[in-house]
């Protein structure tokens, strides 16, 4: 009754007003949600879910824990540092027998093999021989293969007995656990990941800087030339987008290789001795050259979109106020293009950090990036958990840089076009 009275009054306020607004806008809102729903669903199914699953995989691997229940139970009962006793070896023997029946010895071995190389065969052969094991197992199991008594192995099995583990992250950071469960660095010769992470970051940084140096004048030219000429130039800038990435990369091979166009030209013109040809491909140089070329448009386009609306009269004003052309550029033009520089640099850097095909094709041994190692773990070693851990660390590093950028430049300043 009172509500009806409120509805009839010319002015409504408070809750009634809010309700009226929700009612009036509800239909439009529902329609908007329905319109974006397909895309949302698509992203959820094809992007968020797989990434979530991969990230989960980096901390979860039940290859050992699910197939070795008896040993897992013994680890649960006995605190860390307990020497394996008769019960432990008995549990191991039981589990090995079961693994033989279920044909899971390979899975179990693979999980342990991730951390101690060469142990996969220990498990497969152990499972084969498990039938013949007689108590006391504490003696018969090590007799089968003395590696079974290795305290390092037991430490690894203890970690693997839980499906949730940080060991992939440790490995991705060149760390491991020693026999006592302490986190230590891996031996000198086996540390590859941290170095590669830093190499990936600084190479991406270098590629970004090179793209900026090469792209800035081109973007400026694009923004200031008359329309007909700038359109032609724009087509040249976009041309790489319309050719296959593989074609572009292979053409770099043709150009840069030892018997390639550039080397041949330099030798023919006498700049180089024939036995002194430059190694420009299948190394770091090759990766950098090819990636700068491929990523250049991603730098030019945001720069162009920022430079286009900057009218020439700003620089003219600066000149008339007494600034040399360099000062006018540095103090008036450059600061106005910072949003474009930020956007282009962020875009190129993030793309470069995750780039895979080009370094794989032209990088040789020294030009590989972390993404190539991730691919290796995905395709060759089939250690998906390791790949996921590496990818997660890369993602975290990029997010940190993104955060830094936001603090230093401000994400509102970003202009992508």
């Amino acid at each position: 009754m009172t509500e009806q009275a409120a509805d009839r009054s010319p002015e409504i306020g408070g809750r009634a007003l809010k309700r009226a607004m929700a009612k009036a806008q509800g239909r439009a809102k529902r329609r908007a949600v329905l319109l974006v729903a397909p895309l949302l669903l698509f992203i959820l199914i094809t992007f968020v879910a797989p990434i979530g699953q991969m990230l989960f995989r980096s901390v979860h691997n039940d290859g050992f824990s699910a197939n070795m229940p008896a040993l897992a139970a013994w680890f649960a009962e006995n605190p860390e540092g307990t020497m394996p006793d008769e019960a432990a070896y008995a549990a191991l023997a039981t589990d090995l027998k079961m693994a033989r029946e279920n044909k899971t010895a390979g899975t179990v071995g693979t999980r342990i093999n991730y951390e101690i190389g060469g142990t996969r065969s220990l498990f497969t052969s152990g499972a084969r021989k498990a039938e013949d094991l007689k108590p006391p197992f504490a003696r018969s199991v090590p007799e089968m293969d003395e590696d079974w008594a290795d305290p390092q192995l037991w430490q690894v099995m203890r970690t693997a007995s839980s499906a949730y583990t940080a060991s992939f992250y440790l490995a991705a950071l060149d760390l491991t656990r020693d026999a006592d469960g302490h986190i230590v660095g891996v031996e000198e010769g086996r540390a590859v990941y941290v170095g590669l992470f830093f190499k990936t970051l600084w190479m991406s940084g270098l590629i970004t800087v090179l793209c900026l140096i090469l792209g800035y004048p081109v973007a400026h030219l694009l923004a200031t030339l008359p329309l007909a000429k700038s359109n032609l130039l724009m087509i040249l800038v976009l041309l790489p987008f319309w050719t296959s990435l593989l074609v572009r990369t292979t053409s770099w091979m043709v150009l840069l290789q030892e018997q390639g166009v550039i080397n041949n030209t330099l030798v023919a013109t006498g700049v180089l001795q024939d036995d002194n040809r430059l190694a420009m491909i299948y190394n770091q140089t090759g990766t950098i050259i090819a990636m700068v070329h491929i990523l250049l448009p991603f730098m030019i386009l945001p720069l162009y979109s920022v430079m286009r609306p900057i009218k020439p009269h700003y620089v003219r004003a600066a000149r008339s106020l007494g600034a040399t052309s360099w000062t006018a550029f540095r103090r008036v033009y450059l600061p106005q293009t910072v949003p474009g520089i930020g956007a282009g640099a962020l875009l190129v850097f993030i793309l470069a950090v995750g780039y895979y095909i080009t370094p794989a094709l032209v990088g040789g041994a020294s030009g590989q990036l972390i993404s190539n190692l991730i691919a290796y773990h995905m395709q060759d070693s089939l250690n998906w958990s390791m790949a996921a851990a590496l990818a997660a660390i890369l993602l975290a590093a990029v997010l940190v840089l993104y955060w830094l950028y936001d603090r230093l430049v401000g994400i509102d300043n970003l202009k992508l076009g």
Binding site: H313, A318, R319, S320, L321, G322, P335
Partner: protein, 368 residues
């Protein structure tokens, strides 16, 4: 008004300056111009007439194809813009968007290597000059168009240039603000004693502000004179029709003596006019008469004035004045303006009146 002798006090001198952009068409054709120190000179003309090019050559953003420009006696063709020490106000203000108002004003002082204290004092003085003292910390984007224009003005003046160029500085403002700013600029010019070269296509602006106006068309100065001279005694048809409203009557010179001419109009009537560019009997010409110099009351006309029959076609009420469109001597576009005073005669469409004017106000301009 300043008394100017352009031959001797040339502070800025254009000496036979020509400019072409494409090597074929001259945008500026053989320009000779002398601007005195402290003068307010306006370059007025339609777009494409060459006035902005002249300004840009003076500022140093365009080079003269031929001829020399002198500033204070020194040739400046090869002096880069930043060494000319000329203040400039741009049409779109050109305030640096990434700097605050204070930083914008500080910029010309910093590049001159001035100390921080000296800068502060100069900035405050310049901001106070345009009544914007409280806005030093604002960004240009937070200011209205009029405020931005004031800041642009202050920035062009803060380093005490002797010469300030203004390129249609008020073009983007609304009418009322524009009129106010015209007054402000004029006041600053008088107070600071600077030389101003002002470019505009707005004749009202040119008339109210300038010491002298140079009317540009087709790359040439058509006439250069103080506003009143320019308005009242235009020297050719272009100037007459570009500045102010203008009635045109075509006819043939019947008789010509001592600069006075009798013109027989195409409709047969004869009127008296001042001969400006006609010299011979029989020349065809256009007579130009300002609408406000036309009288329709016999007692206001001078003795012996030639009068014509006119039919009122339309009367538009404009507040301060009334604007009547008349049919006179075969044209339907003859305009007469008369003041809206108490007791003013109200003309009605269809009414016939006899109109006349002083022969000095009817100017027989270019032969056609």
């Amino acid at each position: 008004m300043l008394s100017v002798n352009p031959r001797t006090d040339g502070f800025v001198v254009f000496d036979h300056v020509q400019k072409t952009y494409n090597g074929e068409d001259l945008v500026v054709k053989d320009l000779d111009l002398s601007i005195a120190k402290g003068e307010f000179l306006t370059m007025l003309g339609p777009s494409g007439s060459g006035k902005t090019t002249c300004l840009m050559m003076l500022a140093g953003f365009e080079t003269a194809t031929k001829g020399e420009i002198f500033l204070d006696g020194q040739p400046i063709n090869s002096v880069p813009p930043h060494k000319r020490g000329i203040g400039m106000v741009f049409q779109n203000y050109a305030l640096f968007p990434h700097m605050s108002v204070g930083e914008n004003l500080s910029f010309p002082l910093e590049v001159r290597g001035m100390s921080k204290d000296a800068r502060e004092a100069k900035i405050m003085r310049a901001l106070d000059m345009v009544q914007m003292g409280k806005f030093a910390n604002r960004r240009p984007a937070q200011l209205s168009g009029g405020q931005q224009q004031r800041i642009a003005l202050a920035r062009a003046l803060v380093f005490d240039p002797a010469l300030v160029l203004m390129d249609e500085p008020l073009g983007a403002l609304d009418k009322q603000l524009r009129e106010h700013m015209q007054f402000e600029i004029k006041r600053l010019h008088d107070e600071l004693g600077i030389t101003v070269v002002y470019v505009t296509h707005d004749q009202g602006e040119a008339l109210t502000m300038s010491d002298r106006i140079a009317v540009f068309n087709d790359g040439r100065i058509q006439q250069i004179a103080p506003p009143a001279t320019l308005y009242e005694t235009p020297e050719n048809l272009f100037v007459a029709s570009f500045i102010g409203e203008n009635n045109r009557l075509e006819g043939k010179v019947e008789e010509i003596t001592d600069g006075r001419a009798l013109i027989r109009l195409t409709s047969g009537e004869v009127i008296a006019a001042t001969a400006v560019n006609v010299h011979r009997k029989g020349q065809r010409t256009v007579v130009s008469i300002r609408p406000e110099r036309i009288e329709f009351k016999p007692e206001m006309m001078s003795d012996g004035a030639h009068t014509l029959d006119a039919t009122v076609l339309e009367v538009v009420y404009m507040g301060d004045i009334l604007r009547a469109r008349l049919r006179v001597a075969g044209t339907d576009e003859f305009i007469m303006k008369y003041r809206n005073t108490i007791g003013q005669t109200r003309l009605e469409p269809g009414q016939t009146v006899r109109i006349g004017w002083h022969p000095a106000d009817a100017r027989a301009l270019d032969p056609i």
